[in-house]
Symmetry: C2
Subunit: 452 residues, 2 copies
Amino acid sequence: MPVVRNIAAFVQQLHAGDERLLMRALARHDDVQVASVLEILTPGEQDRVLQLLPIERRAEVLGSMRSEIAAGIVGRLAPEEAADLLEELDADDAVDILGLFGPAQLRQILARVDAEEAEDIEELLAYGDSTAGGLMSLDVFRVRKDTTVAEAIRMVQEAEDLPQTSFYLYVVDELGRLIGITTLRKLVTSKPDMPIHAIMDADIVHVTADTDQEKVAEIASRYDLVAIPVVDQQLRMLGVVTIDDIVDVIREEATEDILKMAGAGQELVDTRSFWSSFRARMPWLFTAAVGGLLVAVSLQGFEDALRAVPALALFMPVVAGMGGNVGTQSSTIVVRGIAVGYIEGSRIGRLLVREIALGASLGMIYGTMISVAAPFLGATADNPLGLGLVITFGMAGCMIIAAAVGTSVPLVLHRFNVDPAIATGPFVTTSVDILGLLFYFWLATITMDVTV
Amino acid sequence: MPVVRNIAAFVQQLHAGDERLLMRALARHDDVQVASVLEILTPGEQDRVLQLLPIERRAEVLGSMRSEIAAGIVGRLAPEEAADLLEELDADDAVDILGLFGPAQLRQILARVDAEEAEDIEELLAYGDSTAGGLMSLDVFRVRKDTTVAEAIRMVQEAEDLPQTSFYLYVVDELGRLIGITTLRKLVTSKPDMPIHAIMDADIVHVTADTDQEKVAEIASRYDLVAIPVVDQQLRMLGVVTIDDIVDVIREEATEDILKMAGAGQELVDTRSFWSSFRARMPWLFTAAVGGLLVAVSLQGFEDALRAVPALALFMPVVAGMGGNVGTQSSTIVVRGIAVGYIEGSRIGRLLVREIALGASLGMIYGTMISVAAPFLGATADNPLGLGLVITFGMAGCMIIAAAVGTSVPLVLHRFNVDPAIATGPFVTTSVDILGLLFYFWLATITMDVTV
């Protein structure tokens, strides 16, 4: 259902300019579907579609889009128009969009938003982007602890704009401190004259406004929560982080981890400029370049061996590459294991042994395979047996080294509180290249010197 | 809060065998906390802690654990005990655990579970593990469409074991087909004698039992849903997938994607045996080995160049390695972009241009850096200028090739419905090695032949 059946046709109609057809197409799809189409259009196309949407749908569609893209659209509107649209959104969604603007543009828009909403937005903007405060919604249903069940039900009945995802009623004391939680279901199954504190659940999982979003997601998923209340240091109720925002956090964090492991920055923003991508990738490549230089320098002693048996050079890429692959496999398992909490003290030894055993056995198998296959493919040497042995054992050695390094580097980095996702990659490749190839050439000199 | 403050102390108490202290520690922590401690203990320790827990907490703790670990614990119990515990769980949680058992053990346990629960479990087990059917809970609140509001409220009041996370009432017609959805809040704000179909929302997002779990997660996160109803082909209501299970799916899928990109299998199960890891990694390494062999074969023509300038070999790892890094960065961005839906037709051209420009500029910078630094580190050649030029332009060329290949391979695989996460890696490395190094050596022969 959520897929608009024929995006190509839609874009074609857009360019043909048949407004009636377009409006009919828009009416047939829900806000989320329209939002997902908008996301893949060009800025000009996005603006045209937005103009064609009935005013009352625009905010909903905007709220269903990825915030970077929504920010692009809002940024192209006149400040009055932008303010009108953002007023229709929940403050936390408006903040996701406004947080991406520069201070000047932000001020221009905020000045035109109505005072109460502007205050909410400014309050939320003050919290760190990736904290519970930055994620939370201020629309929560608070009830004082001495409210009766009947009164609370009346409050629910009379409340106007309860957020759709608010499933809990939060019970606070006279100082506004969160002391319990209850549900509408509990209310309708309790006696009307009971005070609410008698039916609340006082066992509450909560976070503070400065809790990191990754931690919030971890807690929510551990406790199967649909919403987590956010409090300040005095336990006063500030707002609530809802599960839809938590789901977004989990997706973002996964993307971040994947990109970090490849040294490709932390954010997947395809509208990101050339320069920000450039800057994101430079440090990792710098490390790799320095590492590569070290490899070249440390292999210098083997120039004579290379002159005697240039075929050794031909197999350098496969020896180093297979090592690199095994190293990456081991380190990926460890890095991800650390991220999701699989890897703990007691298991490290067993893990290391297993990885090394895997490296050794896979290395012997593929080393042998390559040595045996090479002559058939025309890769000959004066001493094919010697070369074969060097390749087989060189590869096995390199893969053992790779498994050991790939498993231990992230563990060591983690121990010293360095994010293993970010630093493991170039470290592992470089040390595998250096140690593995040194071993390979050393093996060549001791094996082949004798017979060449 | 969710962290047990002193796991080491807890384990120590466990080994000291002071049961009173241990039971007090267990009483101080909630089910989720105890579950997270259990997950990092050895099997023997897990069994002891479970024995110390009051019977009524055991099922809750088990239900809060990762299902593979819970399955380990349940598997060590006598079938009667296992059945007693599983009966206390929701059928969908029980299924997550039971799905990991072999048919014999499964039958033994199921025979001892009470008939109704066993039927539910068998129904769920019949669905695919990674489909909406396999994820869903059967505990849903169904109301017939002609029920009045007052009757529905009474049903909610009298319902005994409504699942905690059920926030919706599902409205069905006389054939059991899902026709609408409503909330308790809507009930308490409506007139008691209204029929429920008059207050329901008929605009329902739903999935069928065979919808892939990744799709279910995508829909839930797009629509900000807390629960998605699951129907059969005739639109009859079967159950509901709740957000807590969706969160687990999103985490699993992220892990799977990360591991696949490194060719390290799909599941992060650290209790997985040596052999299953071995099998998971073999195919990727086989591809890499064949690729490496092709590299060796295709570089054979350059043995004479190597004999003349063995220093060329020393810089092979850094040239190929930098290319591999850029290729991985490009392909990671594209693979992840495809997974989260960032990358669509209209943007591919721009993306390719940007990636190639990045490869070219970063290649020139680091190529120059290495050429300039190499002589200072003692890497000399008869013709240092020639070697420098070959390294600089060879690296730039290799990185351009890498960026182009890294960007296009996943796009092409995706177009042909091959999962890009799984196949991109070895493809990119091998082609970068072959094409990049061929270019490097070709550059060397035309540049240095003249002057050597």
